[in-house]
């Protein structure tokens, strides 16, 4: 069995509000999972329950097929919200403390500091760290016990571009060692770049659970441009080849109804008296699919 995590009807109510309702989720080993969803979709509450800081109202969950949560937690590394350490202690002292809590040896401290590139700053106080360094230290702390699963909640939130790249590289390095990663994010671009699988949540339920590739394969979109954008728009709107046309800066973006080659498209417009200056055919990105999923559920409701 390669199932890392299984939840059954996991639910959480805050008063009348159902933050998470009947969540049934299966996470398999060795993948990078992106947990996607708009703000308030229950991502953090779900992670909170799985890490037993939030008491569920209903339902169960099993890590590694076991419901002994106090034991399984020792095989999980997690950071939720912003990095939390004792500000008056150095990075090294903080990691020693975390080692004691996790009941693991201090020997792991040097390797994890090297992993995140903080070995030279290990004796600096946590309060003097930059946000990027704090986030990297948090990953180091989560990796102390060589966890089978690493849980991250918006790990690049608030970081500068350099920090974002560093964190992404670290995550990919960790994933390369076979650690399953579950990453909550609302940055679709980030999920697309890093994750192999996505779980899309909205209003506390799962909308999609599968690989990133499959979610994007269902439809193709086309980018078009020419000298006279208005004329182009008219033609596209009249045509029955496309649907859902939108103008984005100097380009038209449309969905393709049926499969068609770029040559045919080019020919079609040429016959209508339009010379295209730009023609790109591609799979719809995650962002588009994501909004589709959300829109569909709104229609259902």
């Amino acid at each position: 069995m390669n199932i890392v995590l299984q939840t059954e009807n996991l639910s959480k109510n805050y008063g009348k509000i159902q933050a998470v309702k009947n969540l049934n989720l299966i996470v398999e080993k060795g993948n990078i999972y992106g947990l996607l969803g708009p703000n308030g979709s229950g991502k953090s509450t779900t992670l909170g329950m799985l890490l037993r800081v939030v008491n569920p109202s209903f339902g169960t969950w099993k890590w590694f097929n076991s419901d002994k949560h106090e034991e399984t937690i020792k095989q999980i590394g997690a950071i939720i919200e912003s990095p939390k350490f004792y500000p008056y202690l150095s990075a090294n002292q903080n990691l020693k403390l975390v080692s004691d809590i996790k009941n693991t040896s201090y020997k792991n401290i040097t390797p994890v500091l090297e992993l995140v590139g903080l070995e030279k700053r290990k004796d600096d106080l946590f309060k003097n760290y930059s946000l990027g360094m704090k986030q990297r230290l948090a990953i180091a702390a989560a990796m102390l016990n060589n966890p089978k699963v690493l849980i991250l909640d918006e790990p690049t939130n608030g970081l500068d571009p350099e920090g974002i790249i560093q964190i992404r590289q670290i995550i990919q390095r960790i994933a390369a060692n076979g650690t399953t990663i579950i990453m909550a994010s609302h940055l679709l671009d980030e999920v697309e770049k890093i994750c192999s699988h996505v779980v899309v949540l909205n209003k506390g339920s799962v909308l999609y659970n599968g690989s990133v590739k499959e979610i994007g394969n269902e439809e193709q979109i086309i980018e078009l441009s020419s000298n006279d954008l208005n004329k182009l728009l008219l033609v596209v709107q009249k045509s029955n080849l496309f649907k859902e046309v939108a103008i984005q800066k100097d380009k038209l973006i449309a969905e393709i109804k049926e499969e068609i080659s770029p040559e045919e498209i080019n020919k079609y417009f040429f016959e209508k008296g339009i010379i295209l200056s730009h023609l790109v055919l591609k799979n719809a990105n995650l962002e588009r699919q994501f909004f589709h999923l959300l829109k569909n559920t709104k229609n259902h409701v």
């Binding site: 950071i79 939390k84 350490f85 202690l89 020693k96 004691d100 809590i101």
Partner: protein, 274 residues
């Protein structure tokens, strides 16, 4: 247990300000007793030598010093409260739980360190009293009334269990400390109500002990009372203090509250989201 204390030790003593504060606290406990012979308050222009009044005479010394040191429970409470609330300030309570601490372990790490702190404080007071008593008195019968040290320990325990509960309940030191004062005022109000009620209903009320004496803070404060003294006795026998013994009904009540509040605190942590 060793692991829990080791973790607490690191949280507290790797912090320079904490190290200084704790050292000062223990130095103060010792210092107060050592400096007492030099404190000579003046009343009507005459310096009163407390030693001459028999402050350090056995067996009164145990009651006298334990009474003074019982005010140290306020400092202990502040230490315990700040030690708990800093975890909420830094967000490390939640992170500790995520890192694999069970809520039970977290509670016991705080509880154990608070109990240990009370024990050490009472122990130091006991040792200091013993030293001072042996300087000013013959060794025979020196330990008579040393049960006041046990009473002092229970008073500390009872008080810190309330501090722990309030600290975990409010998560902020200022609210926890203020609520301790409010609690005290509420008990005072209950006491007044009981007094008025008795005046109105029971004609002969002097023989029955007030029930409000057994409220948490009241019973805690009643464990060690102000030493009794008698001026006439001072003029006739040369010693102002009267012999007293520990009232164990309050010790038992306070210990009972200690168990109850510790349990409540544990339940609170267990039930609440981290």
């Amino acid at each position: 247990m060793y692991r829990l204390l080791k973790i607490e030790w690191k949280k507290i003593f790797f912090h320079k300000a904490n190290r200084i504060f704790y050292s000062l606290y223990f130095l103060m406990i010792m210092g107060i007793i050592l400096f007492m012979p030099y404190i000579k308050p003046s009343i009507n222009g005459e310096n009163i030598d407390l030693i001459q009044f028999g402050l350090f005479n056995t067996p009164f010394i145990w009651n006298n010093i334990a009474y003074i040191m019982s005010f140290g429970k306020l400092l202990l409470a502040i230490i315990v409260i700040s030690n708990v609330t800093m975890e909420f300030n830094h967000g490390t309570y939640k992170q500790n739980i995520i890192d694999g601490f069970s809520k039970k372990e977290f509670f016991f790490s705080k509880w154990l360190s608070a109990v240990l702190l009370s024990l050490i404080s009472a122990f130091i007071v006991g040792i200091m009293i013993f030293i001072v008593a042996s300087i000013y008195n013959p060794m025979t019968g020196i330990l008579v009334n040393s049960s006041y040290i046990f009473a002092l320990f229970i008073e500390y325990l009872g008080f810190i269990s309330i501090a722990l509960l309030l600290a975990f309940l409010f998560k902020r030191s200022i609210f926890a400390i203020l609520s301790l004062f409010v609690w005290n005022i509420l008990e005072g109000i209950i006491q007044i109500i009981e007094f008025v009620f008795r005046k109105l209903t029971v004609s002969d009320n002097n023989h029955i002990e007030a029930l409000s004496n057994y409220l948490p803070l009241k019973s805690n404060g009643n464990i060690i009372n102000l030493p009794k003294f008698d001026l006439v006795q001072y003029l006739t026998e040369g010693s102002i203090f009267k012999e007293t013994t520990v009232d164990f009904s309050y010790v038992i009540a306070s210990f009972f509250y200690f168990i109850i509040f510790s349990f409540f605190t544990y339940l609170l942590i267990k039930k609440r989201n981290a």
